[in-house]
Every structure is written in C-alpha cells, then in structure tokens.
C-alpha cells in the first residue's frame, strides 16, 4: 500500500508504543525483586538478594513451586497422550462427527474460568478431591487438552497418510508404523502440545484458587495470596525467575526450531 511518509512515521510510532506496552510492563518486576525494603513501592530502595533467599528457604514458596512443577509435569504428559489420541481419532473420522467432537473438546477454552471453577469445586467437595494432587491434575489436564489437540491436529493435517500405507504394505504392524513413521513426523506438534500443556497447568490460577487448600498450593495461588495479603517483594523475585526461565525456554526452542530444517536436509 502506498503511504505518505508522514503516515509511515505515525504508523511506526504507534506500533512501537504498542510493542512497548506488550513487553515492557512485565520487566518492572526485575528491579523490584532486588528491593532493600519490604515494599512494592516504586522506586525500590537499596539492594538485596533477600527475596530470592526467601523464595528458596521459605517453605510456603518452595513447596508451592515444587507442587506446581509436579502437577504441570504430570499434566503435560497426560494431556499430550489424551490429546494425541483424540487428535488421531478426529483425523480419521468423517467430517461431521469430527467437527462436532472437536468443538466439544475445545469448550474448556471458552467456558468462563469462575463458572468452571465453582462447578469443579462443587464436584470436588463431594468427591473429596479438594487440595489433592489428583484433583489438580484432572482439572488442569482438561484445561490443557485443547492446546494439545490444536497443535497435534495441525501437524496431522500436513501428514501424508500414504506413508502409513507404505509402511503397512512393507509388513510393519500398527504399532511399529506409529512408532517409526507417524510419530517422528508429528513429533513437533506433540512437543509443542506438551509445552503448551505444561505452561497452561503451571500458570493456571482461577480453578486452582478454588480447589486449593492449605496443604496443597500451587505457585500461582501462592503468588495471588501474597499479592492480596501484603506487599512482599518475594513475588517480584519469583516473577523475575519465571521471566528468565521462560526467556531461556523460548530462546532455546527458537534456536532448536531454527536449526531443525537444516538438520533434516
């Protein structure tokens, strides 16, 4: 589209502002995490590592962190297995039932969090699942499932099914075909589903707030209650750690993805 230079400059400036608005606000946790005082007021006073120490030594923080890791790891595996199976089934179905079932399986993405949360809470109260590992895993798995389904379905769409026929015609059994032909080719989809599922569970807060109890808290629940209770800069330290971890993960993932095509050729 032809544009006047002035329009160009304005467009560039607006987009720069939007980009800053998207990325910059989160970075504010970094200076706050080295605060010398127990306060979240800006600007931070002094310098200290004490909030990082607190995160590592205070059992409230370290146990909730370990809980989140545990739940998210189980959820990632469970959701990836269930989601891949489902994506396969949908891929091999007739279009009409497949679309219907797919829509059904994507509903967890659009049901308002609180409505789902009170529903699950009600059922968990009866089933004695409040504050249990099983309870967290089940709830998070269903919330993570749509992401796995989308990722694996996308890679199945470009998968050439004749390869399976070829493998079968050469005498490979169903499982061998899946293990040696199909799975390696849809692996990128499964891996990104796994990552999404982990992130979904690790970050889930609304349902977690309802099904938590003092014996089992996840990290987001601990962060939320810390923010609402007092101005403890430990939340900023945790935020900084999460920010670094995410950056390393995404950076590493991008490097891997960037290298992959070359490795294949």
């Amino acid at each position: 589209m032809e544009m006047k230079p002035l329009t160009r400059v304005i467009l560039g400036l607006v987009c720069l502002l939007v980009a800053i608005w998207l990325v910059a606000p989160t970075l504010v946790v970094v200076p706050m995490s080295f605060n010398g005082n127990k306060s979240l007021a800006f600007p931070p006073q002094g310098f200290s590592w004490q909030w990082y120490q607190n995160f590592l030594t205070n059992p409230d923080w370290s146990s909730s962190f370990l809980n989140s890791l545990k739940v998210a790891s189980i959820v990632a595996v469970l959701a990836t297995v269930l989601g891949t199976l489902a994506a396969f089934g949908l891929d091999r179905m007739k279009a009409r039932p497949a679309n219907l079932l797919r829509m059904l399986m994507l509903t967890p993405m659009v049901v308002p969090g609180v409505v789902l949360a009170i529903g699950i809470y009600a059922v968990y109260l009866d089933a004695r699942l409040v504050g249990t590992l099983v309870g967290f895993v089940l709830a998070h798995t269903i919330l993570a499932l749509p992401f796995v389904l989308i990722a694996v379905s996308a890679s199945l769409e470009v998968f050439d099914r004749r390869l399976e026929t070829a493998a079968a015609s050469l005498g490979a059994g169903a499982l061998t075909t899946f293990r040696t032909v199909t799975m390696p080719l849809i692996l990128p989809g499964m891996l990104s589903g796994l990552l999404f599922a982990f992130a979904t569970s690790f970050d889930e807060i609304v349902v977690s707030l309802f099904i938590t109890n003092p014996y089992l808290k996840t990290l987001p629940v601990q962060i939320f209650s810390s923010i609402t209770r007092d101005a403890d800069p430990t939340v900023a330290a945790v935020g900084t750690i999460l920010l670094c971890a995410t950056t390393i993960l995404i950076g590493g993932g991008m490097l891997l993805l960037g290298r992959e095509p070359k490795g294949r050729q």
Partner: protein, 289 residues
C-alpha cells in the same frame, strides 16, 4: 494404531474398523464429561434447586439493582477492552504484513512473549505500575504533576485486561490481513482513488472479518475475567466473576452464585453462536471477493 485403520479402498475390513477413531477420542471425552460436563450440570441444577426448586435465584439476580449494575459494568468494561484492543491491534497487525521478514519476526515475538509470561506475574507488574506509589505515579510526581488514581479504578482494569488480551486480537487480524491482495489497493489508486479513500473502500472492508473474529474472542474472554479485576479493580469496578466467587466462597450461596454463573455461561455461548455464522459468511465473502 492408526495404520490398523485401512487407508486403501481395497482393504477388506473397512467397516469393521469404523469404531476405532471414536475409541481413540473416548478417554479425552470421558475426562471432558467428568471434569467439565458434570460440574457445569451441577451448577445449573444448584441454581435451580437451592434453597428450593424453582427460579427464585434468577428472579433475585435480575431483581437486585446491584447485580444489574455489575452485569452492565461487566459488559461496558469488556466493550472498552475490545475497543482498545482493536484500536491498538489494527495498525500493529497491518505493520506486520508490510515489513520485511526480520522486523516481522521481532513484531511477532513482541506479541508472543506476553503469551508465555505467567498471567499472575503480568497482573502483579500492573499492580506495581499502577498503584498510588507505583511507577506511573512516581514518574508523574517527579515531573511535577499530581498523581492520578489508577489502581482500583475501571481505567486501571481496562489497561491491564487489554494488555493481556491484545494478542488474541492481533493474531486473527494478522492472519486475515496477510491474505489481502495489496494489488487491489493499487488498482483503486490507479483508478483515481486517494490513498485514504482506497483504504476505507477497499482495505478496511476486506480486513473486517479479522476484526470481527478478534473482537468476539476478546469480548468473550473479557466477560469471564477474574484475576485482573480482582487485583487491579476496587469495589466500584467489580465484575460478574468476582460476584460469583463472593456468593459461593464467602456467603456459601451456591444457588445464587450458580445462577450468576449460568447467566455468564449462557451469555458467552449465545455470543459465540451469534458470532459463528456472521464470521463464517464474512470469511466466505472475503474469499469470494
């Protein structure tokens, strides 16, 4: 497992394996019924049966002015968030289609990074930025201005929510804009249209499906927001989700909380159902043109 399902017409037992795909989806469906279907059903039933059978909870909900104020406010805040998102996303998504691959990668990263940063942490940073002793107010004060109240106001809630939801607007917009043939603009200009006229009569209508898609997603997600309004909002910016939570956890009024939840749920699905055909026909229209 999939290879067992015959992929060639000559396979002899095609009919015998027809149930197989359904069996593969069964575990996921069972979990869906147990952890989504059954709980939602429970809430609907409780809204109709507690304290006794009937629609009293719904009559209460629509009869109390407080609830209607909050309902209206939920819609107004969501609408504002949608408008802010659309206004920011439109130029941004356009620029994504207009720049070279390297700048585009940076722009895409700026959209995706917030997706990956923990939602609670992002809301925390908005608390730090917007609070009375926060970044914005201390900058204002050091520049000699009076501080302004941002936290516990609707403005603060809208700012925080729009930032979280902006990627959901940018991505569908970008995917639609990417498909627009820019030669149409050149054709319009060669026929004598000024750039602004060419934009409003050619480009804007073609990009509208993306705006609709993004707006619907953002609006629906905004309706159900809970964490951001809870942390950034105050009593005068309570949204429906917070009210549901108060009824259930603080007042143990499962019937009333359930009724509110059902209202929220039904609104969401009605909007989705209304939007689906509109979006589909718009897409088709765009394709045909």
């Amino acid at each position: 497992m999939s290879a067992l399902e015959p992929t060639t017409p000559s396979a002899p037992n095609r009919a015998g394996w027809a149930w197989r795909p359904y069996a593969l989806t069964l575990p996921a469906l069972l979990l869906l019924v147990a952890v989504i279907g059954y709980p939602l059903l429970t809430i609907v039933l409780r809204s109709l049966s507690e304290p006794q059978w009937g629609v009293q909870n719904y009559i209460w909900f629509f009869g109390a002015p407080v609830n209607l104020t909050v309902l209206q406010r939920t819609f107004v805040i969501s609408a504002w968030v949608t408008v802010v998102c659309a206004a920011c996303a439109y130029p941004y998504a356009y620029l994504m289609t207009a720049v070279g691959p390297r700048v585009r990668l940076i722009l895409v990263l700026c959209v995706l990074i917030p997706f990956w940063v923990s939602g609670v942490v992002r809301t925390l940073s908005w608390v730090i930025l917007l609070q009375d002793s926060g970044v914005i107010n201390s900058l204002l004060r050091s520049a000699g201005f009076d501080g302004i109240r941002l936290i516990r106001t609707q403005t603060g809630v809208v700012i925080g929510m729009a930032q979280v939801l902006l990627p959901f607007m940018i991505l569908p917009l970008y995917s639609v804009m990417k498909g627009i043939d820019l030669r149409l603009m050149r054709a319009a200009q060669s026929l004598g249209a000024r750039p602004s006229r060419a934009f409003f009569t050619v480009y804007l209508p073609l990009s509208l499906p993306g705006v609709y898609a993004g707006a619907i997603i953002v609006f629906i997600l905004a309706l159900g927001f809970y964490i951001t309004p809870a942390l950034l909002g105050g009593p005068r910016s309570t949204m429906l989700s917070t009210l549901v939570q108060t009824q259930v956890l603080s007042l143990l009024q499962w019937g009333r909380g359930g009724a509110m939840g059902v209202v929220l749920l039904v609104t969401t699905f009605v909007l989705l159902a209304l939007a689906a055909p509109v979006m589909r026909s718009r897409y088709r229209e765009a394709e045909r043109r």
